[in-house]
Subunit: 169 residues, 2 copies
DNA sequence: CGCTTCTTTCAGAAATGTGTGAAGTTAAGG
DNA sequence: CCTTAACTTCACACATTTCTGAAAGAAGCG
């Protein structure tokens, strides 16, 4: 695990600090996007780790938070399919892994999200009726979300294609 | 302002309550999407109003909050271009209006948002280098966001087309 | 030019959210 | 089957956010 630390004892510390800076910046952006703080930090740390996976203890130490905080964060992240939990066989340790290289898929797989929105809009249209300005305005929104739902599918297909191409060529 | 209230004194109240229910539900979803509470409520109220515009006093009364709260909410909404402010000539009253029928454009005009993200990812790639798993993983994310930025433009164009078509035919 | 009406700003109270420590639960290993 | 390591749950303290009331700031109108 140890690298050579004869000449430069601070190498590891500097590296760790640099990683931490990136993790915190990335996490801040996830927070801005609506994710709560601790899940954001855990997720950023996992993404920045060499194996894309860390144990609870490693996360706890790196982020300087209690195991309890890690536990809560991981529970959330697993729920929204951003990380998976692995048991290391022959150990009580658990290992949390970022979901493949396509975690950002989850960002767009907000199907449930879109559905809820559509439901609300439909109710609004029903309530106000298409013969009112409100009703029409809300109906426009509904149609936009229906359109969006359709489009996101094909967008992700194009991404898959784009990505395959760039791997091959 | 008063409607006939001879037969059914509760008509207006029921209507108001129904509107409120929709407003609150819609607002809750905006909150879920990351907007803060009061701006969400104000925005939902505006969208559900007949003219798509209300005065500060009207908002204050309908949402049962202080003028101060309305002021703060509107300031935010104007900043992110979701509402515009109009002065009623010959009155000190201000009228707040939802930005056209295409407010949802704003949802996707998150260019600045995407840019920030890209910047962070680029820094991560630089820091770790493409010869590390982390670096490659983060680079994948960067490319996804670049792809997304490109795609969102054409998506909105298709939406404009779709919409024009449905208006005409 | 002062009066009045509406809006904004600001300090602080109330509500909400977030992380910790301690106790509880599960499962490996002797 | 008991011990012990690891993770989880829960009550509470601390921090942050959010709304209010009061006072100050603009802008029409006499």
């Amino acid at each position: 695990m140890d690298e050579q630390r004869t000449d430069n004892r601070t190498d590891g510390d500097d590296e760790a600090e640099a990683v931490s800076r990136f993790v915190e910046r990335f996490a801040a952006q996830l927070v801005q996007a609506g994710m709560t703080r601790m899940p954001s930090r855990v997720f950023a740390a996992l993404l920045s780790s060499e194996l894309g996976a860390l144990t609870s203890a490693e996360l706890s130490e790196q982020l300087k938070v209690s195991p309890a905080a890690v536990s809560g964060a991981v529970r959330y992240l697993a729920q929204v399919n951003l990380v998976s939990r692995e048991r290391e066989p022959g150990s009580r340790r658990e290992r949390y892994r970022v979901q493949g290289d396509q975690w950002y898929n989850a960002l767009l797989e907000r199907d449930a999200f879109l559905r809820n929105w559509q439901t609300t809009m439909r109710e609004g249209v029903e309530q106000f009726g298409l013969d009112t300005p409100q009703g029409r305005r809300i109906n426009d929104t509904l149609e936009f979300f229906l359109f969006l739902e359709k489009e996101l599918g094909s967008l992700m297909q194009r991404w898959a294609a784009h990505r395959a191409e760039h791997l091959g060529g």
